[in-house]
Amino acid sequence: MPMKPDLSIRIGGLVMQNPVMTASGTFGFGPEFARLVDLNRLGAIVVKGISLKPAQGNPTPRLVEVPGGLLNAIGLQNPGFEGFVRDYLPFLRQYQAPVIVNIWGHTIEEYAAIAERFSEVPGVHGLELNISCPNIKHGGIAFGTDKKMARRVIAAVRARTRLPLIPKLSPNVPAIAEFARIAEACGADAVSLINSFPAMAIDIETRRPILANITGGLTGPAIHTIALKMVWEAARAVKIPVIGMGGITSAKEALAFIIAGASAVAVGTANFSEPRCTLAVIKGIEAYLVRHHLASVRALVGTLETGSAS
């Protein structure tokens, strides 16, 4: 009987029993999947993006299936800080899986303020900083694609919270490693990547965009190999843990991220077709470690061989 491999990993002060989390926006605010997935078995639960005030999001249609993935433009609909703390957090506190809240704001001050408020709330174990949403105050330049803005927002949030802080990087940049370095320099505990790719779909009969928002974000299997390259680049650039996501549908993609240098992974779009995908990924990683005689998942992180195969 082979020994059970150790799946646990650490992000800042946060210890996760396994490296598999849910990707923000694909797993709701907590209770939605609970009848199909034992939340206690997850590495961490990452909830949909929360802002200080409730947000209505975009008009419909908000989602369309495209070859190899999905386009979405939900528009960050959420019940706001107070609504989330009142209506969802008590439910999540019943579980032992750590809760990571994905946060966003329109201004640097909003980001910092919501981070501070969440730091005072029991039952929140980490903050993922979504710096890929539009920045209204600064004329539509996304925080996640402007190095100066990224530095300012991460530093401002860091100054106001001691919770494990995980800036979530946008793939919409020429060199993602630079953004990972900025996050590390600003005191982030980890970085997560990637968010969705700006994309669009057109109904050629009506000559109208399919999404009401005209453009949306591409996710799912189509983005996996791009995400993999970005995770590899980011992981080589920083010492803090990297959380890989994009197109995971099975343990195979999750393991590729880990081999490329990710310490943890998140399952997104695949939750929609296979609500128990996270659990299958955990099982698959464990089976792989057994098969490869590895005592822990940490021993696999960043083990990509790039020399010529002999």
Partner: protein, 282 residues
């Protein structure tokens, strides 16, 4: 709500592109309420990363049937399913139709697959009511005989007149309403295209009746998590002023009370608090 691997007991073409898929389901079938739906995993292919929602047509001990029309890639892939194949379902999902009120006369109004979605309402109601069904042609009129066998009165309208009365279903409905004898108040249960649902809500609202409609929305998760399927519903804010809120068709719906729906063109515009013109990456 459960996830279940079901086995196909039979799969056959009914007419006009509609197929009847009967599944062996020991867990989900007994839980189904009229108007609820299942989220079906279409045969996996790179092109279908989402499940597809279907109303439950019949549900009895150990079996569940859906009636579906081929309209796109997912339903096309479903056509290839054979007896004995496995089909993964999540369900039953959503809020279905409420029980018929004690003193009311159930009036069902259907277009397209609406007949399938409404069948369990008729089957599980003691009072025999009336069904109005419409379509473009005879091929669109599904399972009228199933309702007749339950003892219900079925009235048919087709746009080309190939069966029943020529014209829209609202025409035969209005004719009946005009001549309707006093007695039980009609209570409406509708499922079909948006235009039809809106027409029903108009009549229901005008007369102060009760009415329930099932909305069709493209879905992501079906579980209430992704917020893709939202519909505007009426709401009062803290000061009692009428406003609107989003409801999830997969969770609060698919069935809504007519009086709760905010149709897009009635002036209650969304006040945006996210910037729509920028690319709104989540």
């Amino acid at each position: 709500m459960l996830i279940e691997n079901t086995i196909i007991l039979s799969h056959r073409l009914i007419k006009g592109g509609y197929r009847l898929l009967t599944l062996k389901s020991s867990k989900i079938a007994p839980m189904v309420q009229p108007g609820q739906f299942v989220h079906l995993r279409v045969p996996p292919s790179a092109d279908a990363v989402l499940r597809r929602p279907f109303s439950v047509f019949r549900a009895q001990a150990g079996r569940l049937a859906i009636l579906y029309k081929t309209v796109g890639k997912g339903t096309q892939a479903m056509e290839a399913l054979r007896t004995g194949d496995e089909v993964n379902l999540v369900g039953p999902l959503g809020n279905g139709y409420p029980n018929v009120c004690k003193n009311s006369l159930p009036v069902l109004v259907a277009g397209g697959y609406g007949m399938a979605a409404l069948y369990l309402v008729a089957q599980r109601t003691k009072v025999k009511g009336i069904v109005f069904v419409g379509g473009k042609c005879a091929d669109d009129i599904l399972c009228a005989d199933d309702f007749r066998r339950l003892g219900w009165n079925v009235r048919v309208a087709t746009e080309d007149g190939s069966t029943g009365q020529k014209g829209l279903v609202t025409r035969i409905l209005d004719a009946w309403l005009n001549k309707k004898p006093r007695g039980r108040t009609p209570e409406f249960f509708a499922c079909g295209p948006n235009g039809l649902l809106k027409a029903i809500c108009k009549r229901v609202g005008r007369n102060g009746w009760d009415g329930w409609i099932s909305m069709d929305r493209h879905m992501g998760c079906g579980l209430g998590a992704c917020l893709a399927c939202v519909q505007k519903v009426r709401k009062r804010d803290a000061s009692g002023k009428e406003t609107w809120a989003w409801a999830r068709v997969c969770t609060e719906g698919p069935v809504f009370a007519c009086r709760d729906i905010v149709w897009e063109d009635n002036g209650m515009k969304q006040t945006s608090n996210t910037q729509h013109r920028t690319s709104n990456v989540e």
